[in-house]
């Protein structure tokens, strides 16, 4: 290992002699069945990684088609119905089949047991079941797509979805209903694992912040998702049998659906972003060689977000004739939920202070996350502010805000995490310069795509419009151009990560010199993770402990 002070922390074993460990979770068993029937959390994580990548590119293709149609003000590429199906499929696939499972089901599944010093999750078979449920949900979504699509929008607003559309609403609702159980089971598994399976010495406040973030997100999954399931069942019953829960002519309340739907779908935003925040904590700490600034504050802010996240749903309905006083309460709570996010951003920023910072790809993505998530979060304050929301809601402003948080925030965090743990998962490094290029391309493409949409939103361009007034064209062309760049930015990692599986440099146990338990074992790990149960005798992010440990190894091994 070279000790010279360079601009990278990366320390790889001597490539001439290094080998991938002979026995690891990938080659432990062979054959397709050994994967499809596995109980190993790491293998299930890989199954998830492959399947969510597949759905990401399908959802992305729809995004591309939407932007292509919006290149011109006239409705010239596809018919109105087709366009409506495009944005519906884009929303359903990206939210329920990509964003919700993205970090938890892949990185969380792979890492949480290892980070806690456990051999597996609490319920390995339920973990496998949740992947199968996800795949059934995904297949049904594809079936709805192939059979002719669905055009309710991802929000399934009644009475449009129950009485006025003759597309495959039931199929799509069933798909989401089933995929929802996958999410509930994953959350349940994480909660039980975190409570019951921590290794000796792993107290709550020694857990990595990645685990804290997943704990908070899991609470949301377990408590929120059933409400979505209920709402979708009611939509299906209303559609099939006309039970009249949402139908005003039968004494039902059409707003009730939106209350139920947003009671899940607002916390769902935190289900999507919290695990991403966990990734950022790990990455920022590792590449600045420093304990996360104010560990406790960051840990509790995750829990605070989860808690407040349940009590802000009505801010999606400020213009819908809800009572003025409830609007006041929900606006106030919305302002409060913004504070823990602000705390996190500043704590991450101050983690860098007095650190020893290097700029590998995961760190670049993390920087991208911090910038874009800040914009995404602050533009959320616009929408939480009652009077401002009236003009901005249901326009491109909200589209831009949402994508800043979800794509600029979550997707950046996901890519940061995939690059960061890629050597651990596969035993091989990705190509560094190419991946830096991808990170920068993504950042530029993202801003070009979504910054113009803020302006379009304030001008009043409504969302989900197939055609628009010609004076909005310039900004739309910019946005479409940005989407093209963004598309390239996402294709690149797909290609070079696949390449690296065979040709990447051998990573060794701890290429980033990180402190987490997952970095103290071989890459790729053994099926049972640890040969003997580890004992956690230090705080999380204790770089002095790591230095001492490395020194000892050097002296004993020679």
């Amino acid at each position: 290992m070279s000790a010279a002070i360079g601009n990278t922390i990366l320390s790889l074993p001597d490539q001439a002699t290094a080998q991938i460990p002979k026995r690891n979770y990938i080659n432990n068993e062979h054959g397709l069945l050994s994967w499809l029937l596995t109980g190993d959390h790491k293998r299930i994580a890989i199954l998830y990684l492959i399947s969510i990548t597949f759905f990401f590119f399908i959802g992305g293709a729809f995004a591309g088609l939407i932007r292509l149609e919006l290149l011109t003000p006239q409705p010239d590429l596809v018919a109105a119905d087709t366009y409506n199906k495009f944005f519906t499929m884009h929303g359903i696939i990206m939210i329920f089949l990509f964003l919700v499972p993205s970090v938890p089901a892949t990185l969380g599944n792979f890492l949480i047991p290892i980070m806690l010093g456990a051999k597996d999750l609490a319920f390995p078979k339920i973990n496998l079941l949740s992947w199968y449920l996800y795949m059934i949900g995904g297949t049904l979504t594809l079936a709805a797509l192939v059979l002719g699509g669905v055009d309710t929008g991802w929000t399934f607003t009644t009475p449009l979805s129950t009485h006025y559309l003759n597309t495959h609403v039931i199929t799509a609702a069933t798909a989401i209903f089933i995929a929802g159980f996958s999410s509930i089971f994953t959350g349940l598994n994480f909660i039980v694992t975190i409570h019951r399976m921590r290794c000796p010495g792993m107290t709550w406040f020694r857990m990595p912040l990645f685990v804290w973030a997943h704990y908070a997100a899991s609470l949301l999954m377990v408590l929120g998702t059933p409400v979505l399931a209920i709402a979708l069942v009611l939509v299906a019953l209303e559609r099939l049998f006309g039970i009249g829960v949402f139908d005003p002519t039968k004494g039902g309340d059409p707003l009730l659906f939106q209350h139920l739907f947003w009671f899940y779908s607002h916390p769902a935003v935190y289900i999507m972003i919290l695990p991403g925040m966990g990734v950022i904590s790990e990455v920022i700490s590792t590449f600045s060689r420093k304990r996360v600034f104010g560990y406790t504050a960051v840990a509790f802010s995750s829990v605070a977000i989860a808690l407040f996240g349940f009590f802000v749903w009505e801010h999606h309905m400020f213009i819908m004739g809800v009572s003025n006083y409830s609007a006041l309460v929900f606006s106030l709570l919305t302002m409060l939920v913004a504070v823990p996010s602000a705390i996190k951003i500043f704590n991450w920023a101050f983690t860098l202070q007095k650190g020893s910072i290097t700029f590998e790809t995961p760190m670049l993505y993390a920087f991208g996350f911090m910038g874009l998530f800040t914009i995404g979060g602050l533009t959320g304050v616009f929408l939480g502010s009652l009077g401002m929301d009236i003009h901005l809601t249901e326009t491109y402003f909200i589209v831009a805000h949402f994508h800043f948080v979800m794509v600029g925030g979550m997707l950046m965090a996901f890519l940061a995490g995939v690059h960061f743990w890629w050597p651990k998962m596969t035993g091989r490094m990705y190509p560094e310069s190419l991946s830096k290029l991808a990170a920068v391309t993504t950042f530029i493409g993202f801003n070009l795509t979504f910054l113009p949409q803020f302006i379009l939103g304030y001008l009043g361009m409504p969302r989900r419009y197939h055609a628009y007034p010609p004076e909005f064209q310039v900004l739309n062309v910019l946005s479409t151009a940005g989407a093209t760049v963004l598309g390239i930015g996402y294709m690149l990692p797909m290609l070079y990560l696949a390449w690296s599986l065979k040709y990447g440099a051998i990573a060794g146990d701890n290429p980033w010199q990180a402190t987490g338990l997952e970095w103290q074992i071989q890459s790729p790990p053994l099926t049972e993770n640890f040969l003997e149960t580890p004992i956690m005798d230090h705080e999380a992010y204790d770089y002095e402990w790591l230095t001492n440990k490395t020194k000892k190894e050097v002296t004993t091994v020679g």
């Binding site: 002070i5 601009n7 109105a80 409506n84 929008g153 607003t157 009475p159 449009l160 009485h163 006025y164 002519t249 059409p254 420093k290 304990r291 600034f293 104010g294 560990y295 406790t296 400020f318 819908m320 004739g321 003025n324 606006s331 106030l332 302002m335 409060l336 913004a338 504070v339 602000a342 705390i343 951003i345 500043f346 101050f350 860098l352 202070q353 007095k354 650190g355 020893s356 700029f359 920087f367 911090m370 910038g371 800040t374 602050l378 502010s385 009652l386 009077g387 401002m388 929301d389 009236i390 003009h391 249901e394 304030y458 001008l459 009043g460 409504p462 419009y465 055609a467 770089y543 002095e544």
Partner: protein, 352 residues
Amino acid sequence: MGLSPVLWQFMVKWLHASALFPAEASGISPYVDALYFFLLLMTVVGTALVAVLLLVFSIRYRREKNPVATQVEGSTLLEATWTIIPLAIFLVTFVWGALLYFRIYNPPANAMNIYVVGKQWMWKAEHPGGQHEINALHVPMGQPVQLTMISQDVFHSFSIPDFRIKREVIPGRYSTVWFEATQAGTYHLFCTQYCGTQHSGMVGTITVLTPDDYKKWLQQSTSGMSLAQNGERLFASMGCNSCHSGNAAARGPNLAGVYGAKLTLTDGSQMLVNDAYLRDAILNPSQHVTAGFAPIMPTYQGQISEDGLIDLVEYIKNMQSNYRVQQTQVTAESDLAAPTTPPQGTNETVKP
């Protein structure tokens, strides 16, 4: 708001001329824009602060410069700072936004009322004088206008970006929004709630006219019958007048002057009679029985369109006495005596 009016005008006009900013065409627009610029400033400063922190720390503490990190636990003082300052800013935003919300949604007392019915995929505006418009709305400048809106099918949303107003148009429930146009011209009207296939075709034009032009327009576009007159016809043809006759022995409550009054219902609750109450009482009478009356009124759900309901509501709203109701009844009863009239169900007959 704090900024010199000249500078404000310059900035807003310049942005508008560059097609980056909507026109300020209503009384409320400058107030909304003021909050918008405040929030924009907050976002720019906040993002710049984060960017500067990242940049400065990245340069000062990069590995070449600072090979060994100094471990820091945290700092309660710093953390309190970046908890309290954002919280304070967000709370200011909350109060400002709330004040604006009430201002946008609470109409002044002198607002004139226009009804709007949304349906897949068109906007139908009904002026009290009987002018009907499709995907268009003519309004006078400098006069507060309240829209009472309802949807005949799915959720729609009525949005005029240049006025900075928007309100959901809901099936089965009146919602209202008001504005005061300050600039003559034509403006976009959008449906902003996804409502099915032709959602993006559910657009229209708002035309703001000077008061004189508006008067001319009203005269040229009248259909000859005001909404209240249409309502009176319906009131008679649907047989409402047989019970709501205003007679002492009538089976239904007297409706003259009922609008704006507080009614006591049989369950003891007090209800303010407004447009929504009248509509609900027609469609769902069993839930709205006035104290002292028997629950005998049948429901009119499915028998009358939203347009018809608006006519009836407008009629009852403007009904000051029962004179004409009783006149209609007298005419109907005198028909009873006529030899050619069938012996029953005559109350539903309409005489022109």
